[in-house]
Amino acid sequence: MSQRPKTPRTHPRASSIFDAYALSEIRRAAATGVYDIRGGGAKRPMPHFDDLLFLGASMSRYPLEGYREACNTAVTLGDRFAQKPIELKIPITIAGMSFGSLSGQAKEALGRGASTMGTSTTTGDGGMTPEERGHSTQLVYQYLPSRYGMNPDDLRKADAIEVVVGQGAKPGGGGMLLGQKINERVAEMRTLPEGVDQRSACRHPDWTGPDDLEIKIHELREITGWQVPIYCKIGASRPYFDTALSIKAGADVVVLDGMQGGTAATQEVFIEHVGIPTLAAIRPAVQALIDADMHRKVQLIVSGGIRNGADVAKCLALGADAVSIGTAALVALGDNDPRWEEDYQALGSTAGCYDDWHEGMDPAGITTQEPELAQRLDPVAAGRRLANLLAVMTLECQTIARANGKSDVRNLEPEDLVALTVEAAAMARVPLAGTDWVPGQGTF
């Protein structure tokens, strides 16, 4: 019997456009008819701080001695109008995350870790709990469109007020806390029936636009006796104009959140397709501060995808006064820890990828209101881990600052940086490494 010659076959080739994730999402959408909701920030590849390098000292720059010569990390926030500005020992704060989206234990752990390191934590949608006030030496109270749990007594207990205009994960979007997490206590704090989906408004109910915001900030100052700083948090979309308008409205501090910044829950399509990367947002915001002669007078806090001391140093070098961490803080507490791999697998995920925070089934006991799960998190030990992370990030930032000859981490400057890619060079407005070329020069 004659055999037909075998035709060489090409290797099965997966589409780079219809990749495994895209295919799975199409199948999921086709099966359910509902968009995908998840927590966290943008996961797509995008220009980030890894695309920047510090130059370090050389013949023309003198380094400082590590471990011996001082390198200041303290920062004062909100001394434009407030009688009691925030004094931080480190330039790393904890971003706003609500009780409701997080367990009480997780909020306590955040407070413990931040307070140990002399920095601030921030409430979220849903109001202030006694636990987080009690465990946070410096607590920033978020003033959100929903005004869930908002009351003047808590407002006066806050060390600063953060008027939330937008969030990096969903600029233009409101909050979302699905019914699974609206238990009795959360419902009571938010004046909602237990178990309903809580959809926070995307716009404030009693002001629209920067002129109104100026009046709103004035009212908040009148109610709190002009004592505490008022921050304005914006999602990174039009950072030059939003920063300029925040300054005009009278903010003491601008918080700028890039699209890598996390959220408790929103549509996947929103997280991945609305907003701009943190790296692209900082220089326009700083330029707005400079143009208004307000750089270092109105402080800039940057958040969204900050993981380590190098990221902190790069933010500061680009002109920020401090940073906020959210996702990194949760990971330090124990989020997505491989020790819970079996449980993640049971939920159809794996450690490192779990983001269905809205379902309230978090094996790590952080993004849940289930008592059995929440008890998995020891707030004292978790707080210690967060303090350790903050200490490491600060030391790393100092190491880089000293290597660039800076006695204060905020003395880092764009001149200390180069970029590895054309895109990062254009966004950060620093030269491509080995060249003096800064692409994309022009107006914002």
């Binding site: 005004r147 003047p152 407002l155 004046t191 029936p193 009693d206 109104d212 009212e219 009148e222 109610i223």
Partner: protein, 227 residues
């Protein structure tokens, strides 16, 4: 009665004076003259005092009020008594947008008309409007009651939670998930008590009641066209 002339005294000084009244102070009645459209007049009060304001005010008059009884003899700008917790606020004239927004408690009485989004995201406040209310009033209202003696503009009670709405006049349209409900004896009694507290003369039987259909409380794909 202690008089404070806002043409002679800074707003900060006036608010500070009002906010500083202690529980055992004898001085509990104040008269503010010449507000001249100032914003945040009598904001952040926190004691059972009586404050009368003679003239028109800007945004956020009596904002976040606690326990105080505020009487405004004039018209009010945006956000009158926003986020009020307790006490009463009465306006003899009209009020602009977002009156009583996000209020958690207390009683707001507007003797004239009020603009759009009256009682937006209300969380327990009771509001009585002698005239008419604008569009999207009681949007996302969570708790409390809104009684309107006049008419209601478009999309009344859009995305309503558990706030109760009563309208004596015409409702131009109801918002998503808001529907007319039966006016039971229980509701007649509650509305009667509310009107009595507000010192408003009206027969509860002349009102119609509206509330949440509760179809949008949890996301269902079948409701997609409603959103």
């Amino acid at each position: 009665m202690i008089e404070i002339d806002l043409s002679q005294n800074a707003l900060r000084e006036a608010n500070q004076r009002l906010q500083a009244v202690a529980a055992d102070d004898n001085a509990r009645r104040f008269l503010l003259r010449n507000p001249r459209g100032a914003h945040a007049v009598a904001a952040g009060l926190k004691a059972p005092i009586e404050v009368t304001i003679e003239g028109h005010v800007g945004f956020y008059c009596a904002g976040m009020n606690q326990e105080a009884d505020v009487i405004l003899r004039g018209h009010a700008g945006v956000g009158l008594a926003e986020n009020m917790m307790s006490g009463t606020v009465r306006v003899t004239g009209n009020a602009s947008e977002s009156a009583g927004a996000t209020g958690h408690g207390g009683l707001l009485v507007i003797e004239g008309d009020t603009s759009s989004r009256c009682g937006i995201s209300m969380k327990g406040i009771d509001i009585v409007v002698g005239g008419s209310v604008g569009h999207m009033s009681a949007f996302m209202g969570q708790a409390g009651a809104l009684a309107v003696l006049g008419d209601a503009g478009p999309s009344l009670g859009d995305s309503l939670y558990e706030a109760r709405l009563y309208v004596r006049g015409r409702v131009e349209s109801l918002g998503a998930d808001c529907k007319e409900k039966e006016m039971t004896a229980h509701h007649l009694d509650k509305l009667g008590r509310l009107l009595e507290r507000a010192k408003v003369s009206a027969n509860p039987r002349d009102f119609r009641r509206y509330g949440s259909a509760r179809n949008l409380y949890n996301f269902k794909i079948d409701n997609l066209g409603t959103y």
